[in-house]
Amino acid sequence: MKFALELSDGFGPSSGEKNIAELIKKELSSISIDLKRDELGSLIVFKEGKNIKNHGIILSAHMDEVGFIISKINDDGTLSFRKLGGIDNRLLPAKRVIIGENRIKGTIMSPPIHLSKKSEMAIDTEQLTIFIGAKDKKQALEKVEIGDLATFDQIAFEKQDTLWGKAFDDRIGCYILTQILKMDWDINITGIFSVQEEVGVRGIQSALEYASGEFGFAIEGTTAYDIERDFPEESPSTFIGKGPAITVVDRMSIGTNSLKKIVEGVAKGNNIPYQFKKTVSGGTETFYLLNQKNIPAICISVPVRYIHAPLGFCKKEDIINTIKLVKGTAKLLEFQMKKLYGGK
Amino acid sequence: MAIDLKLLKKLTETFGPSGREDEVGKIILDRLTKKGFKPSKDVHGNIKITLGNSGNKILITAHMDEIGIVVNYIDEKGFLKISPIGGVYNEALFGSRILFANGKWGAIFSQTTNPKIKTDFNSLFVDIGAKNKEDAQKQVPIGTFGVFHREMVNLGDNIMAKALDDRVGVYILLKTIDNLKSKKMTNRVTFGFTVQEEFSTLGARALAHSIDPKVAIAVDVTASDDIREKLYLNMTLGNGPTIKIMDSSLISHPKLKNFFIDTAKKEKIKHQLEVLPFGGTDAGAMSLVKNGIPAIGVSIPARYVHTPSEMVNKKDIEGAINLLTTVLTKKDIGDLV
């Protein structure tokens, strides 16, 4: 799973996913595929079926991560910024970031608690600045420019049965897609590595124009808030270590019931642990698979603790089981398509 | 080894707020003298005896004082206004009985129903049943000290009493002295019964100064996790005495801490580790004296600390006596630091 860590370490805030696309291309370089990058930057990978050439499934995962965009370079050499995607303001002060093409190291400034009134209140992003070691605007401009993108600065690592990193939402989905694409298939597999999911599920919309298939799966890294909570009755969303999470309903869409039943059946038949996502929050690419392609679609996720944060982690076994479940489901669909559309 | 309930009852029920510890001191002096020791008392009221005449100097303390109040004003009707001595837990006070130094009694209540301020000391008053100001002044003059009196109750596994903080420590020290009396001492161990821990830790600091020990130990009570949610404490009643790692006044010396833990493990003495996010003891005060004295605390987990109904577990008391008896006879304790 080294590649999953490599993906997490990649630089890919929404609208700046090039680095991730390159990593994925490299990973898939040994297999025979058609690659396309659309205008927005999404990577569409088409792997033709060995047997059936006109039918298949679409899998999507997004390459982007939550991050920042530099909005202003201040006279004192610090940078003002805005958030790309949903990040809790309370996570920002004193965190380290990486900025722009040159990967400039920055530190989000944090006024000392000793000199702060209302120290229990979160500081607004608008009031925070990033320090990059520049003493004035001129020096800062030598390193960065307005519009540069930034991410949290956090190296991924492996620890016992867990993987840790900054961007498992949704590099873990990207990882799973690459693994599926590397397998042998008799039907077409289209992998969409989309952009700009975190800023309004945008990349998938244009990318779908270049994809076709009979079933759609969005593969995600999703919220697992299964730790001690203030109110135990509030939903933990998903649990780590309890297998892939199947989304019945999210904020935008209802997973196709027939497909849900198939996925569940595959899990049961193969003794793959699985769970249902327990919150109706967050939108996923399922919506566009359903609405734009008019095909049955559902979202399968790896539970991740602390997504949209500087450091999160997930269980290796959940990744393995998610791959098993996606593969098992696709194989079942492959079997049925072969029956329907002939071939050997 | 059963708990000497008679002794513990006498200790807890005796009057002894910070600065007025003489009655408690007298019990300790009498007992030690009767057992053939020659205890001494210093200018502040600290009492001490030393066992052993060679080896490293070790000072172990328990404080004699308890929280209480002092009368600071008497109004026209003869009601007393009071100030706290030590960290009084105001919310537990309504209807409490105050026993004054001169044996008079009073009840405590609030002048206001305003929930925001009704437990403030400005709102609280004590009624001693006086006819008027003059009568009250005659019975309980301004400057009189008082305590929140209750009798000790044996609850079976647990004991409930006032001033278990820290008469239970005094009890543990007295019993440890009994255990060590016939033992050959390899350390010079001074047992100190200190004054004013609840107020200023004056007693412990003075004692540490005069003795200048190599190691200091304070025996006191600590908080317990089992009464309030979201305190996230590691200590509960009945799981043994605690070896203090940290509180607001002290970070126990790491070598001492390890020595206590290793000894407890080796001797199979059930114990708990204590990280207390608030509070302090004599150990913290002693650790700052002179060049800095390596110090540690041994505590008894207690519920409702600083109320008239503190509660501790008998097994924890026995465990503490056991642990201290063992540790104090180990020669290497003073050589650690």
């Binding site: 809790d88 001690e228 602390y306 949209h308 944060a309 | -």
Partner: protein
């Protein structure tokens, strides 16, 4: 700067200073100083002079951190703060438990998908935050015990002339003393020079309240101060690049400070003036009234983001701080102001 980086990578949570202690002792030894180490961990390194007049330099060498307070059956670790933390920077922060092995964890945060905007405005108290290591109770208790120290991730970054990382307060000060020790090796001093690094400042100025192994006549306390930055009341802050501050206030001896300023101007060493009205601000609290009241000079170096995992200091300021030390040694080599 690599030297400073390796110093900053040592762990020295108040009360758990051992790791850094070893480092400091070695450095002092290699500077040929005579060492006194107190049982509590205060280190005094002395270069004997020919006169009885003694100048003592002090820097506390502890850093803020946490200890393990409780391990819940569900594997969540509860922490007690050691020193004053800013709850606003703790959520989502990577920490390392120094147990039998190092165990990495992150302070748990509720994902924004599951919290309301109102919730996100208020920062919880540190006592209500948890450390998540991804290990379960059994795995954890194998490696971690109650009371084990917990440090910020050792993420030391050098950007141009700036050093970024946790615990620059006051290991930056320790660095200046170690450098001064090197210089003393070749300096022919008349006064006795004592360099003291002290424990447990962050938990209530404890180390500096303990008597040093040697009586002294003048104490010089070095610590971090606040650099000017957005949202910080600029009544209390100083430019990051205009030199160390020389302290004025009830703790400090005005005449001595003035003398240092005069000489600093002559030698073109940058400095700023800082006022501290509170007597309990730094280690100066311990020394000023010690042994009958001694002269005291305070030198501070401004840092950004104090008490966060991303404290920032300008390297030049530390060098200037050392220059001020040298001025003090030379100026009071022959005795006091009077």
């Amino acid at each position: 700067m690599d030297y400073l980086k390796s110093l900053l990578e040592k762990a020295s949570i108040s009360g758990y200073e051992e790791d850094l202690k070893t480092f400091i002792v070695e450095k002092f030894k290699s500077s040929g100083l005579q060492l006194h180490i107190s049982p509590m961990g205060n280190i005094l390194a002395v270069k004997q002079g020919t006169s009885p007049y003694t100048i003592l330099f002090d820097a506390h060498y502890d850093q803020i951190g946490f200890v393990v307070q409780k391990i819940s059956p569900n594997g969540i670790v509860h922490l007690k703060s050691v020193g004053g933390h800013d709850p606003r920077v703790i959520l989502g922060t990577k920490l390392i438990i120094l147990g039998k092995e190092e165990v990495t964890g992150v302070i748990a945060t509720i994902p924004p998908h599951l919290s309301s905007p109102d919730e996100r405005k208020k920062v919880p108290k540190i006592a209500q935050m948890f450390l998540d290591t991804g290990l379960n109770y059994e795995q954890l208790t194998e490696l971690v015990n109650i009371g084990d120290p917990v440090i910020f991730d050792r993420k030391i970054e050098i950007i141009d002339d700036y050093i970024i990382g946790p615990g620059i307060d006051n290991r930056g000060g320790v660095y200046t003393l170690l450098k001064l020790a090197k210089w003393l090796k070749v300096y022919d001093n008349t006064a006795t020079i004592a360099l003291r690094v002290t424990i447990q400042e962050e938990v209530g100025i404890r180390g500096a309240q303990m008597l040093p192994a040697l009586p002294f006549d003048l104490a010089v306390v070095v610590d971090a101060t606040f650099a000017k930055q957005p949202l910080a009341n600029d009544n209390y802050t100083f430019d990051i690049d205009k030199g160390p501050t020389i302290m004025y206030g009830p703790n400090y001896s005005r005449e001595y400070s003035r003398r240092v300023e005069e000489k600093a101007k002559l030698k073109k060493v940058k400095f700023q003036r800082e006022v501290e009205e509170s007597v309990r601000g730094t280690n100066a609290y311990g020394y000023r009234t010690m042994s009958g009241g001694k002269a005291l000079i305070g030198i501070s170096y401004p840092i950004y983001n104090m008490h966060t995992p991303s404290e920032i200091v300008k390297y030049e300021t530390l060098k200037e701080t050392i220059e001020l030390f040298k001025i003090i040694v030379m100026e009071f080599n022959q005795g006091s102001v009077q």
